[in-house]
Subunit: 168 residues, 2 copies
């Protein structure tokens, strides 16, 4: 299916173009028999609200990939401006328990870690994982959630830097 | 597969939570035997860079849905700050040709409309369309693209308002 394209843009050019596409920053977590894991993600999208479904793209080589699929649940925690240090921590190659240190976590319905004071936390059970290139597209149904109703600003990654978005 | 959840959050709560998740604004276009169409989208995500693949979520009731799938190609044009009026125009219920008026369009390889001065334009052929709830998740391989290398700021939709992101 991916054959027969004479000159597909190279990966580095695609990454340069995608650096011009701003995206919210999330910590995606999971807990269950395969352990408690979490990583920083920006490839997250709402899919439909009837029923509430979102998707998360995860590199199949990422250390979180197999535990998340094995647990069958995940939580997408969307970061507020002041949570930038947490984004950096969950991007580091350090043990999962060390990543979770230094922030307050709770749970909703699936038991996946829910970040206190995240802009939004969507607690999900996994419906499907579809393989494309190096990544899995994980389709997940939102079965519980919470979100901040104050005016907290969001954290956006754009031009390979962090930015705040929203009214101060 | 979507059965058996005792109390799924209602669509309106999900939309409220998703309003706290900022997203880039895009005009997704297509041209071919089924006509020239375009609509404003924020549910777009990069999937993998090897090979370059992205996804676009489209309501199956949207007037663009069938033409895009029938044409088999699309272009994702990511908007810069100053293109907010175009976002509004492509959200209106007006004929497609009227939407395209008032901006300059070119083409790359698929023939889909490419917005001049978009932050990035990803010209794609469609690989798959997967149905979830009310929407199709359209998986598309990037076969040509261009992007701005100046410091133009991006257009983000957050808290049900437009915002600029990036260094001025």
């Amino acid at each position: 299916m991916l054959q027969g394209i004479a000159s597909v843009p190279v990966a580095s050019s695609f990454r340069n173009a995608m650096s011009r596409v701003g995206a919210s920053v999330h910590i995606v977590t999971s807990a269950g028999p395969a352990g408690r894991v979490g990583f920083t993600a920006s490839a997250v999208s709402s899919v439909t609200d009837s029923p509430p479904i979102l998707l998360v793209c995860v590199n199949r080589l990422a250390s979180s990939h197999e535990p998340i699929l094995s647990n069958g649940v995940l939580c997408v925690n969307t970061l507020a401006e002041e949570q930038e240090p947490l984004s950096r921590r969950f991007s580091e190659k350090i043990p999962f328990e060390q990543r979770f240190d230094g922030a307050d976590w709770g749970t909703l319905r699936t038991g996946s870690p829910v970040l206190q004071h995240a802009l939004a936390s969507m607690d999900c059970r996994i419906l499907d994982a579809l393989e494309y290139g190096t990544h899995s597209v994980i389709m997940a149904q939102v079965i519980d959630m919470k979100y901040r109703q104050d005016r907290a600003r969001g954290l956006i990654y754009f031009d390979r830097c962090y930015h705040a978005v929203g009214s101060a």
